[in-house]
């Protein structure tokens, strides 16, 4: 064992006093790479990333589609936007689980003892999670198209919908990041996913028109970010209002980021 360390300290470069911005980006990308390589070794995660959207589409289209809209195809034209929203929110919980696992296993301690950008572990994870989102949206659209879904607005509309979704999930991610910092074990993140995201996505216009819901619920449904995001995606891909729901969704995204980003960063500094 002669290769453990430098034989002498001579010739070592003098240490730098801070991380340069290009280096910080490189650190984040390296950590994003790490987070994506994890998928390669954990086929279950890939299955989860692919199967969950697939199942959402198939179940909603074939179980509810006929009863709600007359045919699976007709339902998808309305409901695929909602499925995309719901899938994106559920997927965002993975960010919380992954961050929490890194903290509880001590992996973050190692990163923090390295001369790398302080925000790189967070930024790298979030960047990798955007890639995960892209993958599962691609599956949703692919399967939806096979079952008869058609984008009626053209490529620009579809790209716009995609951009809006990415912006929204990036802002929304601060909430899962905060949860990931606060809970003491990864399993508890799931509880949050089910108690908050489930009602959030169902009490909305994601899957059904809201006209038959009781009045008090409609009042909430109208301002629910899931409704606004779904309506905007629907408008961008199929038909309907775009501007009003899009502004509403972006407003929510901004509000969530403004409230939760400082809290999450504070928790991040305290916890790690």
């Amino acid at each position: 064992m002669t290769t453990l360390a430098h034989p002498t300290s001579a010739g070592l470069p003098a240490p730098t006093s801070s991380v340069s911005p290009p280096a910080a980006i490189r650190h984040a990308l390296t950590l994003a790479w790490r987070s994506l390589v994890q998928i390669k070794h954990n086929p279950m995660e890939l299955l989860d990333l692919s199967l969950q959207p697939l199942m959402f589409v198939l179940l909603f289209a074939y179980v509810f589609g006929g009863a709600l809209s007359g045919s699976p195809k007709a339902f998808l034209q309305f409901g695929l936007a909602g499925i995309i929203t719901q899938n994106a929110l559920f997927l965002s919980m993975n960010t919380a689980v992954a961050l929490n696992t890194d903290i509880t296993k001590g992996v973050f301690d190692r990163f923090r003892s390295l001369p790398i950008s302080r925000s790189a572990p967070l930024a790298g994870r979030i960047a990798a999670d955007v890639v995960r989102q892209v993958w599962s949206v691609a599956i949703l659209l692919g399967v939806g198209t096979l079952l008869g879904f058609r984008v009626e607005t053209g490529l620009a509309g579809a790209l716009g919908a995609f951009g809006l979704l990415v912006v929204f999930t990036l802002c929304f991610a601060w909430l899962p990041v905060l949860i990931g910092m606060l809970v003491d074990e990864p399993e508890k993140v799931q509880v949050f996913g089910f108690t908050v995201i489930f009602p959030l996505t169902f009490a909305s216009s994601a899957f059904v028109p809201t006209a038959t819901m009781p009045g008090w619920m409609q009042a909430w449904v109208k301002v629910n970010p899931v409704t606004l995001l779904t309506d905007a995606l629907r408008g961008l891909m199929v038909s309907g209002d775009v501007l009003r729901p899009m502004l509403g969704a972006l407003g929510w995204a901004a509000a969530i980021a403004v409230v939760f980003a400082p809290l999450a960063l504070r928790a991040f500094r305290r916890r790690t």
Partner: protein, 325 residues
């Protein structure tokens, strides 16, 4: 020779708990400093401060000449940390774990791969290199963790209870690694609850108890502090133990330690053993053993702190240290 690690008056509180109540320590460049203490003594907290993971509430510390608070980034370029819990990414393979660190440290792809292969070979992990770390045994994981911390050729290495939970062979392997590091001029700070480990590896020892330094010195100095030799007396019958304790306490003027039917006490005066034997014989106590030996560090610890450095509930308190951190 200069000090690679210098800490003065480190204080750290977590809410009501005072983990460190003013700790000074120093490690000479190219030597091993063992921080010795039981669970809850504050060892992990001290290491986390020196590794820039925690800010001290009071006091300051320099590592390789850089301040751990104001020059944390420079300190991080000099150090490596291996914790009690192997901090490897379990889903990545052994080689990927090392590549990750190398790339984060700014090594080129080829350089990172070369270094990874080299280290995997050094730590006898070549065959398992392309297997996910979650398939590794505890000892292999620990070796990978250690390898990961050496990717950047650190000048100062912190090993936080590196052998806790390792079998004797794993322990021997780790000791060899520490000695090799020191041969290469690296400074090692090692925390441990094992007296034998500190005795085997350390050039200097800092004994920490309840957030304070109880003693510092070389292993020999600390042993000498106890009074040079330990007198052990065991009566044939356990029912005589109380009498033996009484006599030993009276003649040595010290509180003796009783364990497994034997009474032991540190002695400086060569005339003491005959005097004790005489008194016991007079009292009708039959003595099975009366001997003098060098004190173990365990006894040093007992003498310095008044209680044993029990390793039985290993891991507990440092767990607290972590969650509090």
């Amino acid at each position: 020779m200069s000090d690679a690690i210098q800490a003065e008056g480190l204080v750290k509180r977590f809410g009501e708990t005072t983990a460190l109540a003013g700790v000074d320590l120093a490690a000479r460049t190219g030597t091993v400093l063992a921080v010795l203490g039981p669970n809850g003594a504050g060892k992990t907290t001290a290491v986390r401060i020196l590794a820039t993971l925690l800010r001290p509430d009071q006091g300051h510390a320099k590592v390789a000449g850089y301040d751990v608070v104001t020059q944390a980034h420079q300190v991080r370029q000099m150090i490596a940390l291996t914790g009690q819990y192997a901090a490897v990414d379990e889903t990545l393979t052994g080689v990927e774990n090392l590549l990750l660190i190398g790339r984060l440290l700014g090594q080129s792809r080829q350089a990172a791969r070369r270094r990874a292969v080299e280290l995997l070979d050094d730590f006898a992990l070549s065959e398992a290199a392309s297997r996910p770390a979650k398939t590794y045994s505890g000892g292999m994981r620990r070796r990978l963790d250690l390898a990961a911390s050496l990717v950047g050729r650190p000048r100062v290495v912190y090993l936080d209870e590196p052998t806790t939970g390792l079998d004797p062979r794993g322990r021997g392997d780790l000791w060899r690694v520490v000695r090799n590091l020191v041969d290469d001029g690296v400074t090692v700070l090692l925390t441990t609850q094992y007296m034998e480990e500190a005795d085997q590896l350390a050039d200097d020892i800092v004994v920490i108890d309840r957030g304070r330094v109880a003693a510092t010195g070389t292993p020999d100095q600390l042993k000498a502090k106890v009074g040079g030799q330990i007198l052990v007396v065991s009566p044939v019958s356990d029912s005589d133990l109380d009498t033996v304790v009484g006599v030993v306490a009276e003649l040595s003027g010290d509180e003796p330690d009783v364990a497994q039917g034997a009474v032991s006490v540190a002695v400086g005066d060569a005339g003491l053993p005959p005097a004790i034997l005489q008194r016991l014989t007079a009292a009708g106590v039959r003595v099975a053993e009366l001997s003098l030996r060098k004190p173990s560090l365990d006894e040093v610890f007992f003498t310095l702190t008044g209680h044993r450095a029990s390793a039985e509930d290993a891991g507990d308190d440092d767990e607290n240290d972590r969650s509090a951190a």
